[in-house]
């Protein structure tokens, strides 16, 4: 097995140590594991400092010690209002309510602050806030990223079960070691009674699917696990040993084999579905059975074909490295040599075993012979070893010594094929053959260890084993299962977890990361530099449970340090170690190494209680300091590395979104549940649907973590698109109106009183005299200008139709708009983007009106369709204001092509697309969204076509009132967006 040598890393270790300088003495010998983060945790005595009387917790004395050295004084404490806002945002991601502010400001007890902290830690909102931090690390999303259309569902079914598990675990203060073990090996911990640990495994299974490329799926899992838990960039060792850190390619492929030894499996979270979901369960069973039956049949067929061509497959192994891997999609016919089986054969041929292999030893023995040496080399090897070989193989080789590797593969392959034919001829291929040697061969073709097998897994991983038509069909069947699951009734929750494979792969290095080029075999084990944490053998199953236990082993110094660093990062807006998911040799050394270790040890002592860790931190003096710096502190520590003050922070996307909901007083208090597809209206941002391929622009704009990969810290950019969102988005208007509708605001009659109510909600304080004056001035003034709605060439109304004249004699706009359609109150009449429904009237029809903005000839196209089985259908008309009725169609459970060419219009003319009831008012829904297009050459720079579907709009939103215009400004302020 490859292990890191000192050559490369010596220089780097020395350089880093110099950089660490003040904190660590020079390493005594060349060993990367002597890097600070790999050393055991050190319990330093709490220092004594001149500021000790300010100290609230031991944390302060560690911080003060550094400040004292640097000659900087700690900042004064923050005022109570600032502190309450800070700790509330920090712990639950929401602003304090006015009642909470009043209670805290009037509570003079020395325990007032502690009580607030306890209240916040006990709030279910806590898990929603800190769960979101964790979901960034877990690269959580509700969709799979790019997949092939028609092969599976784009969405994960029930990804929310994992999100809710995280929130619940944090709310319950599940010890952090268990929190991790369940997420990595929940399958080993789940019992018949409690299957919740399976939900935890979304941590592994909700990553990108890479269109079924399992090398990438596994790489993503290795990266997520190692960076999240230990701050180790194990993925850097995929192609070669890590350039800087003590992580070898062997370590990577050891991890790789652990995850390659597991497969994705779907299961209901509750063992028994409630009786009312029987119909759902039955349909699911049917769809699953259809898939299983199809795969079983195709598997038998494929395996039979591969067995029958053993000679071709053995020959193909000679050139295995030239075959395309799963990185490349090739269309395969059923008769093509499938590279996946060639690689399985190859893995079998190079399998590590000390004993002589009577079937395949000839391949191993001649692997290193050149073609020119082969004939002689093989002959002499054969004469020395013939007696140890399988008789059938030996006989086949004796019939004519192979002169080349190809011939060797051909001979042995043919011998296999003959035995296979004999076995099939018995019509019971699974019966043992009488001849012992033949039986050994039959076992190699059919037995549990045969390379001719298809492992367990999701269809997107298994499709590589099949020809193109099978891939398409299995994908279709898989999609039917998944789409059914996505729509499962509430209460029937399914999870995808990892289960250990029956047959574990042999771990081998892929040279340069190329799976076609197998290198050395490696033991399945923990990162060698941390081998002292490995207590259990990794040979049990896939080894995932042993891996999880090694990660949380008390002697593993990384896990506790990494978590403490993350929690600190979120409380102070700055971490001890940065970047927080790289504790390797290239990361910055910790700013406060003794404190980091002291907290890590206390975390472990507390039984890994994350809430205890929060308590220690937020109760400290340091946390309660003002964010204003003295000039001296600014001069000597401008970046505030020593924390002589609190860092001012801007609300992240979630806190901003949630605050905007909170000011309306409408925030939805339900914890958990399926992702909100509608942009989560009044739900907290943590519940929004996250589509990997289509992260809403507003989220990207506000620097939400990319769900493509583990994300340890967010960017914090300031760009005008953020401002545009706050200034112009319809959602903001909705929030502003919600704020103005709150009783304390709406019922305030005097302007001053109303502004005070707004300030209390938005800023948790009284306005100043000046703020009152400027606010009242704007809110009481008339609007400067009316708003102009965007130009629209379409109108929606009820048209009176006079059949005798063939003319529309009246047109009354529809006044009501709801659920994406224009409607008439108390009636079926409706028009939406794709069609509508007629009114119960044969003279007054629903009409979509196009108002010509130009003069010339147009062509009208688009089919009208009536599908309802009820009633007598509808009558559709196209009527021009210039020439009258142009066309009429009576349709009933049928469709008509409503195409008209060369229709002459003058600017201002209208064309009405009228639909009338035909007597029976039932079942009058129709589909009709006409397209109007200019005839002949298009005119550059002008509109050339008008699509009823694409141009469809609801009514323009109501303009803001002066008060709403004013209230919006408060939500745009820095005071609202920043926490001191």
């Amino acid at each position: 097995m490859q292990r890191a040598t000192c050559k490369l890393s010596l220089r780097i270790t020395v350089l880093s140590v110099v950089a660490i300088g003040a904190f660590y003495a020079l390493a005594a010998h060349c060993d990367e594991t002597d890097h600070w983060s790999f050393r055991p945790l050190v319990d330093t005595a709490i220092p004594e400092t001149r500021y000790d009387e300010l100290a609230e917790t031991p944390i302060d004395r560690f911080l003060f010690a550094r400040l004292e050295q640097a000659g900087i004084e700690p900042a004064p404490p923050a005022d109570k209002r600032t502190l309450l806002r800070r700790v509330t945002y920090d712990l639950i991601g929401l602003p304090p309510t006015t009642a909470e502010i009043d209670a805290f400001l009037t509570d003079d007890s020395p325990l007032a602050y502690e009580r607030v902290v306890e209240r916040l830690l006990a709030s279910p909102r806590y898990g929603e806030r800190w769960g979101r931090h964790w979901l960034d690390l877990a690269r959580y999303a509700d969709t799979k990223g790019y997949i092939y259309e028609g092969r599976e569902s784009r969405r994960f079914f029930h990804s929310h079960v994992y999100r809710d598990w995280v929130i619940g675990a944090l709310n319950q203060d599940l010890p952090y070691d268990q929190f991790l073990v369940q997420q990595i090996a929940g399958d080993s911990l789940a019992t018949a009674e409690d299957r919740r640990p399976l939900a935890a495994m979304g941590f592994l299974t909700l990553g990108r699917r890479f269109a079924g490329n399992f090398y990438e799926i596994i790489d993503d899992r290795i990266d997520t696990v190692s960076r999240t838990t230990m701050g180790l960039t194990v993925s850097c060792a995929r192609c070669h040993d890590h350039k800087f850190d003590p992580i070898t390619s062997g370590d990577y492929y050891s991890f790789y084999s652990i995850f390659a030894g597991s497969y994705d499996k779907a299961a209901p979270l509750d063992r028994e579905l409630p009786a009312e979901q029987a119909a759902f369960a039955e349909e699911l069973r049917k769809r699953q059975a259809a898939y299983d039956e199809y795969i079983a049949g195709r598997t038998n067929d494929v395996l039979a074909r591969v067995r029958a061509r053993t000679a071709d497959y053995l020959k193909a192994t000679l050139d295995v490295e030239s075959l395309p891997t799963e990185h490349e999609y090739r269309f395969l016919d059923a008769d093509d040599i499938n590279p996946v089986f060639v690689r399985q054969w190859h893995a079998r041929l190079i399998r590590q075993n000390a004993e002589f292999d009577p079937l395949f030893e000839p391949f191993k023995a001649t692997a290193y012979l050149g073609e020119s040496q082969f004939a002689d080399g093989f002959a002499s090897w054969f004469s020395a070893n013939e007696s140890k070989l399988n008789r059938t193989i030996a006989v086949a080789l004796t019939e004519g010594m192979p002169k080349s590797k190809v011939e060797l593969a051909e001979r042995i392959g043919r011998a296999f094929e003959k035995v296979n034919e004999a076995a099939l001829a018995t019509t019971k291929p699974l019966e043992p053959l009488p001849d012992e040697s033949d039986e050994a061969i039959r076992q190699a073709l059919y037995g549990p260890a045969s390379p001719i097998h298809i492992p367990e897994g999701h269809s997107d991983e298994l499709e590589w084993f099949f020809d193109e038509p099978t891939r398409v069909e299995m994908g279709k069947l898989q999609q039917q299962i998944e789409e059914w699951l996505v729509e499962a009734p509430a209460g029937a929750e399914y999870v995808v977890y990892l289960a250990d494979r029956a047959k574990q792969p042999e771990p081998r290095i892929f040279e340069n990361g190329n799976p076609a080029v197998k290198g050395e075999a490696v033991p399945r084990a923990f990162v060698q530099a941390l081998s002292h944490c490995e207590e259990e053998s990794f040979s049990q199953g896939s080894g995932r449970l042993a891996l999880a236990k090694a990660i949380v082993h008390p002697k593993n110094p990384l896990t506790a340090r990494v978590l403490v660093n993350r929690v600190w990062q979120h409380h102070f807006g700055a971490a001890f170690v940065s970047p927080p998911s790289d504790f390797g040799l290239r990361s910055e050394p910790p700013t406060h190494p003794e404190l980091l270790d002291w907290l890590a040890l206390r975390l472990i002592e507390s039984g890994w209680s994350v809430k205890s860790l929060h308590r220690m931190i937020v109760l400290s003096y340091a946390y309660r300091q003002s964010s204003e710096a003295s000039d001296a502190a600014l001069a000597s520590d401008p970046d505030n590395r020593l924390l002589s003050r609190m860092n001012r922070r801007r609300l992240d996307y979630e806190a901003l979104h949630d605050s905007l909901v909170a000011v309306t007083g409408w925030i939805d208090p339900v914890v958990g549940g399926r992702s909100a597809l509608d942009g989560s209206r009044n739900r907290r941002a943590v519940y929004a649907h996250v589509d990997r391929l289509n992260v809403p622009a507003v989220m990207k704009t506000f620097d939400v973590a990319s769900p493509d990969a583990h994300s340890p810290e967010r960017h914090e950019t300031t760009i005008p698109q953020q401002a545009l969102y706050l200034m112009n988005s319809p959602l903001l208007v909705e929030r502003v109106r919600g704020l103005m509708a709150r009783p304390e605001v709406a019922q305030a009659t005097a302007a001053i009183e109303r502004i005070e109510a707004l300030y209390k909600i938005v800023f948790a304080r009284q306005p100043t005299e000046k703020e009152l004056a400027v606010g009242a001035a704007l809110a009481s003034a008339e609007l400067a200008e009316p708003v102009r709605p965007p130009p629209d060439d379409w109108a929606y109304g009820m048209a009176g139709y006079d059949a005798s004249q063939g003319k529309v004699t009246s047109f009354a706009s529809l006044a009501e708009f709801a659920d994406g359609a224009w409607r008439r109150q108390g009636d079926t009449a409706r028009l939406d983007a794709s069609g509508g429904a007629a009114a119960a009237d044969n003279q007054l029809g629903v009409a979509r009106r196009w108002i010509a903005p130009m003069s010339g000839a147009v062509r009208i196209s688009g089919a009208i369709e009536h599908t309802s089985g009820e009633g007598d259908g509808v009558r559709a008309l196209i009527v021009s204001s210039r020439v009258g009725e142009l066309a009429a169609f009576n349709i009933k459970q049928s469709s008509a092509d409503a195409t008209l060419t060369n229709v002459q219009v003058q600017a201002g003319d209208v064309l009405d697309f009228v639909v009338l009831c035909r007597g029976d008012a039932a079942g009058d829904e129709f589909r009709w969204s006409p397209l109007v297009r200019r005839e002949g050459e298009e005119v550059a720079g002008e509109r050339n076509q008008w699509s009823a579907a694409a141009d469809f709009r609801g009514p323009p939103p109501a303009p803001l009132t002066p008060w709403e215009k004013y209230a919006q400004v408060l939500l745009l302020t820095n005071e609202f967006a920043f926490v001191d």
Binding site: F331, N640, A709, E785, V969
Partner: protein, 468 residues
């Protein structure tokens, strides 16, 4: 992390620095790390000077997604006639599907311009600009699949989440117009294959992500999100921002000067101006009739004219796609469909080149045209009416931005299947593009997950022969 770095200033420090920070967007040196970090978080799109002398200052990448056929467009192969219907003498290289006998091009080639570059009849208008074109006939990529090849062309990596070329370029150079996104992506009708992965910023900040515009739309509010306020007039919004500035000033006055607070104050003023600039960029009615006619009707004429306006207004990187899905993916019926596609593009692209030239912009605008790969000279089985994907050899062309006009670089074999002379991998194309923009591709890096990442990973050679 960057957010807290050197953010607060004493008043004296502030006065000496505010010229740099407050809306000023002064050019900064890419290699002054502290200033750089601060600029990146507060003004991520502030224009930056590249370390080397640039030949190109902006890029337009016209993406013929789906994979146009080189032997039908810019890489003439007379041998195809001779071998019509026969398999290639050395056997057909493996591609995604199986291909059969040679399919000669249904299109005629002719020498064009003083340079005599051969271009097929599919691009008669573009061919008038032959002397400006630098045709690379020896491109190669790794795999014959759309997904991997789109990602490689757009992000330099076929599999992982990596920043796109446009993101790297705007990260490196910022943008010349703070009132518009620095990197815009126009595609009519929806997303191409692999969707927004093609213009993602990945681990770079979101400000460098391509801003997607569905260019089939014609009304501004459907083209760009949140660009106008539907419920308040501009005059009233101005009053809002005046009050906002006042309230923010009060708030800031009670605190130490904080660059982050200042930047956010500025961002509202920028946003207000951005509404006007964006509306202007997309408003083709203000374009003279002659220009509109030169670009022609149809969606490509419209979107390339918008693209030219964006470039002129200072957007750093514009990517214009052929359409949703994979329009050029002609596995069957290539004769009719390639003609249809080329006809839609030919006049607008020719107009773009003429327009840029006329405005003196062509010399420092790098125009790149191409797909994610090419197509096989052999016909795809069973009916041989189309061509399969070909990663072994394909063609892209460039114009302007310091490239050598009237020049064909490299060559494929006699059938146009494999690049054999001066093969140029996608990484080499990226290295060369960055070079033209003033970067050493090995030094434009970003530290993430324990590594310094770059567009070209560990690959890429600058191809100096294609530089004028």
């Amino acid at each position: 992390m960057a957010a807290t770095m050197n953010r607060l200033y004493s008043r004296r420090q502030w006065l000496t620095r505010c010229g740099l920070s407050v809306g000023a967007l002064a050019l900064t040196d890419l290699f002054a790390p502290i200033a750089r970090a601060e600029q990146d978080s507060l003004h991520p799109l502030a224009p930056k000077r590249p370390p080397l002398a640039p030949k190109a200052r902006r890029v337009i990448h016209i993406f013929a997604n789906g994979g146009p056929s080189q032997v039908d467009t810019f890489d003439p192969k007379p041998a195809l006639e001779k071998y019509a219907g026969q398999p290639l003498p050395q056997g057909n290289p493996a591609t995604e599907f199986k291909t059969g006998g040679v399919l000669p091009s249904p299109f005629k080639f002719a020498r064009r311009g003083e340079s005599g570059l051969e271009i097929s009849e599919l691009f008669p208008e573009l061919a008038r600009h032959a002397d400006d074109l630098c045709i690379v006939r020896s491109m190669t990529t790794d795999l014959p699949n759309h997904e991997a090849s789109l990602l490689l062309m757009n992000t330099g990596d076929p599999r992982f989440s990596r920043p796109s070329v446009g993101s790297w370029v705007t990260y490196g150079l910022g943008s010349e117009n703070q009132n518009l996104p620095g990197f815009m992506v126009l595609c009519p009708g929806g997303y191409p294959i692999q969707e927004s992965d093609n213009w993602r910023s990945s681990f770079l900040p979101g400000a460098y992500q391509g801003t997607f515009v569905d260019s089939q739309h014609e009304s501004l509010d459907k083209l760009v999100e949140n660009i106008a306020n539907p419920v308040l007039s501009r005059a009233d919004q101005r009053q809002q921002l005046d009050l906002l500035a006042q309230l923010n000033a009060e708030h800031a006055g009670e605190r130490q000067r904080d660059a982050l607070l200042e930047a956010r104050i500025q961002s509202f003023e920028l946003a207000f101006r951005m509404q006007g600039d964006t509306a202007r960029a997309f408003d083709l009615a203000s374009e003279p009739l002659a220009a509109r006619e030169m670009y022609g009707p149809g969606v490509h004429g419209r979107q390339l004219l918008i693209a030219r306006r964006l470039l002129e207004m200072g957007v750093r990187f514009v990517q214009v796609w052929s359409g949703a899905g994979q329009p050029w993916d002609d596995h069957t019926n290539i004769a009719a469909h390639h003609r249809e596609l080329a006809t839609g593009f030919d006049r607008p692209i020719a107009a773009l080149l003429a327009d840029l030239k006329q405005r003196g912009m062509l010399e420092d605008t790098l125009v790149l045209f191409g797909g994610e790969f090419g197509r096989t000279p052999t016909g795809q089985l069973p009916d041989l009416s189309g061509r399969d994907h070909n990663h072994h050899g394909f063609t892209v062309w460039m114009a302007g931005g310091g490239v050598r006009g009237g020049y064909a670089h490299g060559a494929t074999d006699e059938f146009g299947f494999r690049a054999v002379e001066k093969p140029m991998h996608v990484h080499d194309l990226h290295a060369t593009m960055l070079h033209l923009l003033g970067f050493d591709h090995e030094l434009l890096t970003y530290r993430y997950a324990g590594r310094d990442f770059r567009l070209t990973d560990v690959h890429g050679e600058v191809v100096h022969e294609i530089i004028a």
